[in-house]
Symmetry: C2
Subunit: 297 residues, 2 copies
């Protein structure tokens, strides 16, 4: 029974292709680990890798990538639209097959300890790995960003879990943690009015009273001149993709607006998509384990 963990490290560099290519090369260099996706965004100035592998391989690749980022990315000279606190900003670990969340938490601790030891970067454990309530949410850890981290860390509330009490001078700090799979999903609207996307996002996201496990913002796609509802679905078994799509349609109709198309960023479990097929087809007595060929192989 092979164990498989997904690791989706985020780096604060999305412009310099030589650095991005070096990260990709490191991501492909560890036996037992596959780089399945990489996306770089120049306006965000950020790169996200998606890796799958055995626990030992994921540990090795996470540490090697942190080294590469630390060597090449200097946050005192970096800027971009996306908030950031470290050269390698966050390292999420997701249990995929024959691995428990507890094993991913243990692995995040090992990775955190090694990064702090070898690179002198302070490490905060977050989400399922968090050692305090105020450290569960990545946005809370990152608040103040790289520039505000030295002062923030003077508070005992923000003593890191591993490593020095001050941020690394150029590589800042990093969050490492185990979490559930997350689906990054966007809906593009038939309008160029970003306010409509923002109003829809506010109606559908859990934080303002919408669907509990949906995070959403409204943004403008400048090149396409199109407004977008950009989402993270953090528990697709409860808040499924079709629920957010139907709710967006309902809210968009207020403004005479529709969905032009949608996008899946990175990868999603087959189950999350088949849930949508089950809804759309009105399938009766459907059971993933029983009716899907691949679940028998």
């Amino acid at each position: 029974m092979t164990q498989i963990i997904q690791c989706i490290p985020n780096f604060s560099e999305g412009c310099r292709t030589d650095i991005v290519n070096e990260l990709i090369k490191v991501g492909q260099s560890i036996p037992g680990v596959t780089l399945v996706d990489h996306t770089s965004d120049t306006s965000h100035n950020r790169t996200v890798l998606t890796l799958l592998g055995c626990p030992e391989g994921i540990k090795a690749v996470a540490v090697a990538l942190a080294k590469c980022a630390c060597k090449n990315i200097d946050l005192t000279k970096q800027s971009g639209e996306h908030p950031r606190m470290g050269a390698v900003d966050v390292i999420p670990l997701v249990p995929i097959r024959n691995v428990t969340m507890g094993e991913c938490v243990a692995l995040s601790q090992e990775i955190g300890r090694q990064i702090s030891n070898e690179l002198g970067i302070p490490v905060f454990l977050y989400e399922e790995s968090a050692t305090a309530k105020n450290r569960r949410n990545l946005a809370d850890i990152r608040r103040g960003q790289f520039e505000g981290m030295a002062i923030k860390m003077q508070s005992p509330d923000w003593k890191p879990d591993f490593g020095p009490a001050e941020p690394h001078p150029t590589a800042g700090v990093v969050a490492v943690g185990a979490r559930r799979p997350l689906i990054a999903f966007n809906a593009n609207l038939s309008t160029s009015d970003v306010k409509i996307a923002q109003k829809i996002a506010k109606r559908i996201r859990g934080s303002s009273g919408g669907l509990k496990y949906c995070k959403a913002i409204g943004i403008m796609l400048l090149e396409e001149n199109m407004a977008q509802v950009s989402m993270n679905l953090v528990n697709y078994e409860v808040t499924s993709i079709y629920s957010v799509v139907e709710l967006i349609k309902v809210e968009a109709a207020r403004y005479g607006v529709g969905i032009v198309n949608t996008e899946l960023i990175g990868i999603a479990p087959a189950r999350a998509l088949i849930d949508c097929a089950e809804y759309y087809l009105q399938l009766k007595d459907f059971n993933f384990q029983q009716h899907v060929l691949e679940s028998h192989i």
Copy 2:
């Protein structure tokens, strides 16, 4: 690289639970073969098993099941709504993983030869295994059913591929062949008028000018008092599930009728369902190989 073949033998017994249970037990008895689904229908008087396994295992289970059927099912005393020509009526083989259609054709020949040798049952190779054009289509081979087979086989056109020139006195004949995966899919309508289901079936099926790889009939579900469009989709990559669903909705609207729900009989490849999700979600630039987690594992 494990080779996996799907085998879906059909038996002309759906009422006597002791016989059905014996077939199920035989289906579970061969190492390397998994019985993933079984359905019995009393009005059809028919049982369908769905098996997955390596080529050698599938060969062993197919022959063992034919023996069990031959011993227990006497077609001179059998009746039911579903047309039939043998105790084991048809043995389809479908390539699933690391197996070519050619290898499934070769296996169907081995299985056919062994069944005719050991049980004295005449075997017709059908679909991809057919040795003549008039033997490709199962319905053409079965026309006349068990009762008409002795006379039909006097024609040189219907000399079997293996075994004696006359049907087995109680077990009849059997068709064995390799074919593409088939999706058995039904749509239940908000009407008790079977004529509406029949009119819709005629509009959507390939044989009367509809979707090329869709076979469809309109039937009545007596217990539910509900008309049903019952379908076989014989090439889901071209004629996808969502196409038939949308076309049924369009045709049903003529009569003020809608789809109440749909049913998947047996198992379907994840891809066939994810195609529906892609359509429903209006996913942009979606690629199964790239975006579905399981395709990387």
